[in-house]
Symmetry: D2
């Protein structure tokens, strides 16, 4: 496609790992470990448990995948996908506890926590609401001001992270359509989901390279992504993620965590 044009440029691929609980598993973690450069590891509230967390951290360290925390709302039954009327103080405590646990497990395993990306409803609430965004950013900052915060570009979460001096890594999606205001088109609307491997790769290359994206309305806007989110919770999605990685590498990108690059 555009092989070699981006030689030496770096893009991060992040994916959710360790989303099982007890006897249950979710997603093909083995496949994802071969694709992503950054892992968002569930921390026990919406998914994950102490055993899965430790094992996933160990696997990431072995495979040189950057370890990140993926804290969620305390709603295992709803997988952290339902908004709840939580206060900023409650939110800060949720992120402190979960990220703190993973940070300590990672250190105890000989590694170092690299980033934090809120999960599900918490991610969406933090993107939109300044008070929730500030609570998330504050928890991250208090744990370690050197942690990176993954956030949607132009979101309240990005702003809150920058306000505290955190290194914010803006995230893009290869398989979702964007609107002209830079937000994702809601699922179910025309163009909201991108199925084809070629089209997804094209969008990833645009986000990572030129810093632009086509919108579902037909235009093009400036939008840069430093990390691309990939999914592994369905068989075809893990395959798509692997294909995306190959395509980005063929185009000259180096797939690496921002942690390995510096700010």
């Amino acid at each position: 496609m555009e092989a070699g044009r981006n030689f030496g440029e770096t893009i991060d691929l992040n994916g959710d790992l360790g989303e099982g609980f007890g006897n249950w598993r979710a997603g093909d973690d083995a496949a994802m470990l071969a694709v992503v450069s950054s892992a968002n590891i569930a921390c026990g509230f919406h998914a994950g448990d102490p055993h899965i967390m430790r094992r996933t951290v160990e696997e990431c360290l072995k495979r040189n995948v950057a370890v990140g925390a993926h804290p969620g709302l305390p709603d295992r039954l709803g997988f952290g996908r339902r908004e709840m009327a939580v206060s900023p103080q409650e939110t800060e405590d949720f992120v402190l506890y979960q990220t703190g646990a993973l940070l300590a497990i990672t250190a105890a395993s000989g590694g170092r926590l690299a980033h934090v990306k809120p999960h599900g409803a918490l991610y969406h609430m933090a993107a939109r609401r300044p008070d929730i965004a500030a609570a998330v950013a504050r928890a991250v900052y208090r744990l370690d001001p050197g942690l990176m915060l993954f956030a949607p570009p132009r979101s309240e979460l990005e702003r809150a992270g920058l306000d505290l001096g955190l290194r914010v890594v803006v995230e893009g999606f290869a398989d979702r359509g964007y609107m002209s205001n830079g937000e994702l088109a809601p699922r179910g609307t025309p163009g909201a989901e991108i199925d084809g491997e070629d089209e997804a790769l094209r969008q990833a290359l645009a986000l990572a390279g030129r810093g632009t994206v086509r919108t579902v309305e037909g235009g093009e806007i400036s939008l840069r992504a430093e990390t691309i989110c990939v999914h592994g919770d369905r068989p075809q999605s893990a395959k798509l993620a692997a294909s995306l990685r190959r395509g980005l590498e063929a185009a000259g990108f180096r797939i690496a965590s921002p942690a390995s690059v510096g700010s």
Copy 2:
């Protein structure tokens, strides 16, 4: 009583704090904060939640009470008091996760975690079973080899901690009767519970001072305690704890965490 005789000697008083959950409270934490020099803070499995943990840590730091982790079995309904058939690996992960969360919250609050004391059934299992003891000690060591481990004297947990080079702080009880083998007399047997303030103080002074204790059989054995466990979960117990502290101070003891003394 024996006022002044132990001038300058140090004894630690430890108590369980933050044992509520959500809307529920357990114990008079405010009263206990005025009595203990070391707090064992519940970490979310048998009791405690992110909010209570953070607030209790903040209170301890304000009052200069040493912050310790009190990890338990994942059995909130049974308050961590029921033995469960957990493996050593599961045990290690439970302690890693819970202690790790509290360690991170304490650091984020400007403090430093001082010690770990397993709770309830986990404490009893670790006292008796070498494999569970080793799992607990290993988790503590991996999190921070500078953490102190609270353990019954002559227990498997003491041994496991010493084997790893941890600073083990042996614990005694002022309000429980001892048997000639150094173990606590089971509740319900004659002399198992000590009600009187005077008798409790006498036992505390013996454990902390001469390093001896009278047994329920009528003899006396060598048994040194570096920390005395006090309770605050009933109105009279918090009162008893306060009286014990006054008595120890009157006898010349300085009440302080071993953290403030060095090994």
Copy 3:
């Protein structure tokens, strides 16, 4: 006050019971059992556990207090007081499961479940949202069309219950101020909370007797209550509830569950 004027008229007093969990307790259940004619028993999601539920049912049957279910959102940490983005189908299943469990425990104890009153955020959502109200009413109806549904007067929940042919029992508050639209004045606004025993009794008598209530704006509106909610979660509230019962009895009311009266 108006002693004897309401001779033979019946009013129900309902209160929340069994709101502990595991080792924790909430409220003075013993005091409440002497006051209420209908108990709303927590069913395990926001509070309550199988042991507390069985014991509370047994106590109610012994004291001739009508047994009701108090199902809540699956949020023990938030005590069911935080709204969550749950679907009507999820809501229906939550009420089916929790009320079903209590219904079966009550039958196994030789009694019969009398009513259902949603708890906390679920109560408020069901009062306001037709879809959630219909889901709650449908679950109640499917379990037993003879169950009574406690609901705020003029609410979506009342409407949904009546639509299915359920016996709806409208609920009033003695200790909360009403607005002219019949809704409770939000806590924190002037007149929202009624502290005095006399004033609370006056409001209860008006709601139960004439079917009117003074509003915080200064007027009076028609509002009939068939059951008055009393609280027992603080020492003074249990005392207030007892005083309210004495006042209603002195005014000639018989305190009894609607179950004992028929529709």
Copy 4:
């Protein structure tokens, strides 16, 4: 094999269904619904949630599969497979609550609960300990004396059920080796697991037909099974279960719940 020899005789095939939680699934429920005549449905403690329970009940009623409760210990993280030090009273309450919830959901869906089979560690504890067995049987009896209790032959659970006059249905395993005392050979010992389809069918036919089984020691003992347990939690196990059903039908057996036969 022995086609037609057992013409008209009936054998039940039971399997665990609804063992997911929230977003997680376990086992191929669709495949199992085509094989079993009795479903053991998880009730929310070790697995299952209100939504999965309701949907699984509906599927069973549609497919004419008998609905049974599969109550477990309150240990979702351990999938109810770890023994816990629970009291008989606690055990009775656990079974009351869980089975009560499923009983009510089944009735609300237009069906009728047929049987109860304890899950995992609870099954093993009830098989061995008279006090736990009596607690389980008492809970079942109190809910509905017409419920059947599934139990290992010659176990304490069988005895406790018979003592209360319950209809006890004894269970056999086609894919596990038996010892000469009638108990299952512990996993990991020679002959403990039976892999071949032919051998499993042979054992099922012996258990269901002649009421005998070969032992791992090489002898044969009397052991009758009225229900055979099949598994669906791995791809090959669902296939094996289907093959077992075909074999039993070819040998003349009618596959049906004991509920459809009477005692």
